[in-house]
């Protein structure tokens, strides 16, 4: 459900009109619009925003680990509309055990490396990604470095 103060926001209202079930929450804070989307709907919402609302650019995809709370991960998308000179942040909460979410590579090919990076550093799998493997860490690396339960320094021998 969209909070009352966001009903006036044209982007938030358009997303809600497109698929009311998809929007879980939203806020407008420090001049930035954030919409929380149901994880299963992310690809269709992104497609809607790209083709109907001119958000032609996907600026970045990243994640935040809220360990130990559940759902543990937030997958964060930053979209940019050049035509309207506006940006929107989409957020999906994903549970900690076997985290998985739909890929948006079908909407923007540029999501490819960003999703690989999130997979590499957080261990979140993206369904439908054409080539999901590690990108920054070595291929045989164990663990996911940006998770909060991953140590910053190595153990002492």
């Amino acid at each position: 459900m969209l909070p009352e103060n966001l009903k006036q926001n044209s982007i938030a209202a358009a997303v809600e009109a497109f698929d009311a079930d998809a929007v879980r929450a939203g806020k407008f804070d420090r001049g930035e619009l954030t919409l929380e989307i149901a994880p299963g709907k992310i690809a269709s919402i992104c497609g809607f925003l790209k083709y109907d609302q001119q958000f032609v650019r996907l600026s970045t995809v990243t994640a935040v680990d809220r360990y130990p709370s559940e759902p543990r991960f937030e997958v964060v998308y930053h979209l940019h509309s050049i035509e309207h000179n506006s940006r929107v942040r989409l957020k999906c909460r994903v549970r900690g055990e076997d985290p998985v979410i739909d890929s948006v590579t079908g909407v923007w090919r540029g999501a490819d490396w960003y999703e690989r990076e999130v997979f590499d550093l957080f261990g979140i799998r993206f369904l439908g990604h054409p080539d999901l493997r590690r990108i920054l860490m070595p291929d045989d690396w164990e663990g996911y470095p940006l998770r909060k339960d991953y140590p910053v320094t190595g153990s002492r021998v």
Binding site: D29, R30, E32, T34, V56, R57, L58, S59, T60, T62, V64, D65, V76, H78, I82, N85, R87, R89, D98, W108, R109, G110, D112, W113, Y114, L121, G123, R125, D131, L132, R133, R134, I135, L136, M137, P138, D139, D140, W141, E142, G143, Y144, P145, L146, Y150, V152
Partner: protein, 408 residues
Amino acid sequence: MAEPIAEPPLPAPEETPTETGTRRMVLNMGPQHPSTHGVLRLLMELDGENIVKCQPDIGYLHTGIEKEFEVKNYQQAVTLTDRVDYLSPLSMNLGYCLSVEKLLALEIPPQAQWMRVMLTELTRLNSHLVWLGTHALDIGAMSVFLYCFREREEILKIFEMFSGQRMMTSYFRIGGLALQPPRGWHERIKKFLDVFPSRIDEYENLLTNNRIWIGRTKGVGFILLEDMLDLGITGPMLRAAGMKIDARKDAPYSSYEKFNFDVPTRTENDVYARYLVRIEEMRQSTKIARQAMEGMPGGPWKADAPGIVLPDREKMKTQMEALIYHFKIVTEGFRVPEGEVFQIIESPRGELGFYVVSNGTAMPYRVHMRTPSFGNLQAVPKMVQGTLIADVIASIGSMDFVLGDTDR
């Protein structure tokens, strides 16, 4: 925990002869290759001299900086940002400081803002000079490199004058500047800005109408505008494709709205157009830096925020309250209200975004950097597939990526 998915083996070269009667070959370029400007590795499948397939391999310079942010307090983390894009450290400083200041809702005094603009534009010159010198060197014009580094040296000396450091300056801090601008900075910068436009003419004399340069760059490295937007290319590359997009104009930060400058664009969308765009950007940056120098407002150079900005040395030695603040800032840092921001600035390479998440403590909960090199590099396969192996160097050179910026 899900099993990591193993890297698929590279396609084996085909045994059957191709149309041109040759066998395909996989060529490994890098990571230690002088023209990949760092440690980029490209795996290229060749049919004669044609590139059939290209696969970039990155991560050789991954240092886990985003993880490191989570164990530094906000002010300490400024020094990490320098080391991401090491050719434009002040742009990185600026992006990070602006994002944290946005979280804190901190007002920055005009002098600090203008000083930031001036030095960031000098950083842009610095970065473009390194790009121009090495790009020309890659293509075979040796002397341009020497000319560019002559001017770059002057810029580095200016940085040293301001911050004591040539490259890892960390001169911008949350709340303003690290130190008071040094005595005599005005004359020093004026001297540089007076002579620099004629130096740009010098580079142009060497390259712009040079037949070899034109032959190597015109019509090379073309990529459709739709593909560029789809793949996440930003900055001068997008402007060389006719798209007038620049965060300094679209979403002004640090009082860029008060400066008068143009955003140069071209429509040819090849290596030559990108060269012309960056040359013109250097002229515009000189213009901005001159405006900032001439109109530099007076007043304080750091914000009036006792719990966040370190007190003056003088006050710290004489006032109890200032001493307490000093002690608290140094030992525990300052708390930042809960929230998240995504601050965009225009770095020399394109769109630089800092996504900073705070949970109300003195250390960032998560910092993600949307770096322009990462987005640009993703388009390498699209750009070079189907072209000649000899054009790869010119094409990737025109992207102006920095591997520290890519791998973080």
